[in-house]
Symmetry: C2
Subunit: 574 residues, 2 copies
């Protein structure tokens, strides 16, 4: 038994930025080499960013990816880093587009591994883009047989890891673009433990960190030994290079011949002599963090990366004094600094005094900019020709606010944030082109009850650190209201949020039928009413801004439902 | 050689409306039976509607589809129609979800065929939903071997049609949900001719007609003989039952044993005696119509079905006096009647006199409702607190108009139509939450140059029929302008539309690289500028309303690009 020193480059990349992403690889490889790393592993699609969606369909893009790979190998060598093995993801094209991993050494591409299992569920459309690989590439380097795999290969029973086990490999490297999802069961760890057992070898799992439109990647890179032990585990949402000495078995003199109907083992040797033995130094093993902390991290990274990668420097949002805008503002302040957050209070005739005072309190706590734009005169200007009443009169207020925020965005260059939460979005409790305007919607996948939990967690963190509480306690405790008509409360139109969220978790996230939900003890009429509200709001959700996915099933590409749809579930008659 | 009388039920169905769709099958079967039909074929997913997207993931929905099928077989028998063979599409679930076709007779399900080729490109995500079938079901009925296939099975080389040929079948039935796409090459006919040759048998191809969100189905059902002759061809966009006597070879006494690695031939016999010989009566063979007529038909059906299937009775739109709103209004008048169209002129300080007169002329020509809501006072109410200039001042006018239309929708119940065309949407020449508001965008997939062509074609049709021209000639001839600042013309910001559309056809619809487009003779700086405008407008397109797809590649599910995207093609230096 010897130990190879791996560096897991848990880094952030940007879709389409071949030059910038290559530069990151070179910089991080230099850092890893200085720390004695022998193999540096980067995430899936490191050079292209991930996911690139229909960019894959453009021949020019695929050619650029292949050119970036060979260019990178040369640049690494030119920088004196040719002796370090680098494993890096990119898009290949051997006549068919491939989600690929390359093994680089001495200025050359030693091996190219194509992803075998192509996910085509949830947010993934990889059958749309790629042809599956049918080889398992094993690179003999420094006396160790290193097997290459990509992401989903680790999520399916059988396939590459079983074949790797039969091929007597010393270690399996699995590069990932694995999006964050709330998950108290530590599914990744359990999967990797199973795969390590199948491979009878340690697994080096490296994942990217950062935001790309609606997806947030949390890192959580790790090394799992063949017996399931966690050798190393990186913190989530932190961009860094993590070093780990991975105990590996030496490559056998005559490795097993593997016959598999689907995958062919392809072996290549770099010619490097076996590495001298070394005693493994202990590596970092990060503990799991509480749910709220993890989600907060995802939301901060998701928003921050959307802002920066799209060339914005600041955000603007309506501050209503309520909990949703308070939490969004606090996330924004954590992501890009309070000084880059612009809050606008837009009181109407129905706005309470506390809506203004809580909003200004919020801005002060965050060090955010704050201004008031009263909308009463604008409302009157609409009312005069249109004579609106009821819902139309309520909505016009929200739309004036939306137009005001967009005007400030046009005039001052801020990204507009929509402040709606998942519960509202589910039942259509928002005004399209009103509070729904924005380039990004940070909490669109956060249920209302969890918005409160996040607020309390964030304030408690501040309290522990002796800092100002970012969120006005009054915004947490007061009853939620849209304040679009006199004395209006959310509870006038919606069930209690705890009940609503419980039903939504089943109907939306779980695709459970109305009958099944009723069987769990929820009131039949209520379940049916909620299901109908969800179905009827599909058209609004289609036009809602993107926002970070944190749940098993987020609105957007994760849940694709027709707008025109007469399917209405009714509870079975008792 | 005998002839079986088929009825091709080119009908419209609604997603999720199991009761209504079953009722359509029974009514149309009765009609066909009265005309002597022996086999009645309905489209793919007749019972569920198509496409149902993630509804397939719900166990309750799949169970409802299976129950609807067995219920339908019983209802047909109860209605005295049990003796007529009915072939109908639905969703099956034999442990895995299936895109299926059933052969019904005498109150029973005689055979269930699962779609073999599952498209996962363009607008299709069928690998997300279905498992592929691995059998080819051949039903011996009335002395003829009838092979069952579903849609995409006819679009791929090899597979079911080749196997059907080897199995000596008498006829192949192919049921479809095949969306309309502009296509001057008559691809469907050529494909079916190839499949008929492979199958060595005639093909009965039946397609649905109607709109479902962004897709429009054009019918174009047909019967192609083994030698490629068109035996029957139905008109596009017409809902009806088309009868055709299909000459078929008798079933052989001992059919060939077929060994195929992928598909197993499964044979079943209904026990019905061979049909008496009959001389085929000639059937309708519809000629192809000009491009403009075909597209106009698609747009009328797409909008009409969106309105009706979503429970609306009327539409409202801004009438600017320009060509886009004129064409949208004329489509709406053709789809739901001019009396259900509500036009609103919303002049600002920069509106020309002709913007009003052309708008009111349009409404009069269509018999549409018309009102004026001047927005100057509302603009002033925004200007006062916000002091807007430049782009912000332009956009606020468009957003006031959007809010006005939404207010009228809220107050009066109309569906709001967005009037943007594909060229504008491509380059981002529209105001999000302004002219982009709406529940549906009828011409979002129509390039500006083709908007003019459609207007001229529609007026010429009216002229031929001696009717009032629906579109004011002045709206066709005047130079396009957004009228958001003094004297503004589209040509101030955009290239000539003929050039722009030619570049967009290559960059957007064709996924061609900047270099390739330049090589065709387009000016390099211009191509690059257009490509950048297209890339930068992705975030706006995400929030744009749905509208009918008529092109090879429509914005929406057909073209899935990241918003966060630094991939910028530059022409190769000369």
């Amino acid at each position: 038994m010897t130990a190879l020193r791996f560096a897991l480059a848990q880094v952030n990349m940007t879709v389409g930025d071949f030059a910038g992403n290559s530069e990151t690889v070179i910089r991080r490889t230099a850092e890893a080499a200085a720390a004695g790393a022998q193999v540096v592993t980067f995430p899936e699609m490191m050079l292209t960013g991930y996911p690139v969606e229909d960019l894959v369909l453009r021949p020019a893009f695929r050619a650029a990816s292949q050119a970036a790979l060979t260019g990178l190998a040369e640049q690494l060598a030119a920088a004196g880093l040719g002796h370090v093995a680098v494993i890096v993801g990119y898009v290949d094209d051997d006549g068919l587009p491939r989600d690929a991993s390359a093994f680089l050494l001495d200025g050359r591409v030693v091996a190219r591994q194509f992803k075998h299992h192509l996910p085509n569920y949830g947010v993934f459309d990889e059958r749309r883009y790629f042809a599956p690989g049918t080889t398992l590439n094993v690179v003999r380097h420094l006396g160790v047989d290193i097997a290459l795999t990509v992401c989903e290969d680790a999520w399916q029973e059988g396939g590459p890891f079983t074949v790797a086990g039969a091929a007597d490999v010393g270690v399996v490297v699995n590069i990932n673009g694995s999006p964050y999802e709330r998950n108290k069961d530590d599914v990744r760890l359990r999967l990797l433990q199973r795969r390590a057992a199948e491979a009878r070898a340690p697994i080096v799992y490296v994942n990217t960190v950062g935001g790309q439109d609606e997806l947030v990647f949390d890192g959580d890179s790790m090394v799992i030994a063949a017996d399931g032990t966690t050798v190393m585990r990186a913190p989530q949402f932190v961009e860094d290079v993590f070093l780990v000495d991975v105990p590996v078995t030496d490559a056998p003199d005559s490795p097993a011949e593997v016959t598999d109907e689907v995958l062919t083992v392809t072996r290549v040797a770099t010619g490097a002599s076996p590495a001298p033995r070394r005693d493994p130094e202990p590596a970092v093993v990060t503990d799991r963090v509480p749910d709220e902390e993890e989600v907060w991290g995802a939301l901060v990274v998701g928003l921050g990366d959307y802002v920066h990668k799209n060339g914005f420097r600041s955000v603007v949002l309506g501050m209503s004094g309520g909990i949703d805008s308070a939490v969004v503002a606090a996330i924004a302040a954590d992501a890009i600094g309070g000084e880059n957050v612009y809050g606008v209070s837009m009181p109407s005739a129905y706005s309470s005094e506390h809506s203004r005072s809580d909003a200004s309190d919020l801005a002060q706590r965050l060090g955010a900019h704050y201004r008031e734009v009263p909308i009463k005169a604008i409302v009157d200007a609409f009312m005069d020709p249109l004579q609106l009443t009821g819902l139309a009169a309520e909505n016009v207020q929200a739309r004036i606010r939306g137009t005001t925020l967009m005007s400030l965005s046009n005039a001052e260059g801020h990204l507009v944030l929509a402040t709606g939460n998942k519960s509202e979005l589910a039942v259509g409790y928002s005004t399209i082109y009103g509070d729904a305007v924005g380039g990004f919607a940070p909490i669109k996948d956060v249920p209302k009850t969890f918005v409160w939990a996040l607020a309390e967690w964030r304030n408690s963190q501040a309290e522990k650190r002796g800092e100002t509480l970012p969120i006005p306690p009054n915004s947490i405790t007061k009853p939620p209201s849209a304040e679009l008509s006199p004395g209006q409360l959310d509870s006038d139109s919606l069930p209690d949020y705890a009940v609503l969220d419980a039903i939504l978790a089943r109907y939306v996230d779980g695709d459970r039928g109305v009958d099944e939900i009723v069987a769990e003890g929820f009131e039949a009429d209520l379940v049916q009413r909620v299901a109908r509200m969800v179905d009827a709001a599909e058209w609004k959700r289609r036009q809602y801004p993107p926002g970070s996915k944190i749940s098993f099933k987020a609105f957007g590409r994760d849940r694709r439902l027709p707008i025109t749809n007469r399917w209405r579930e009714a509870p079975r008659p008792a």
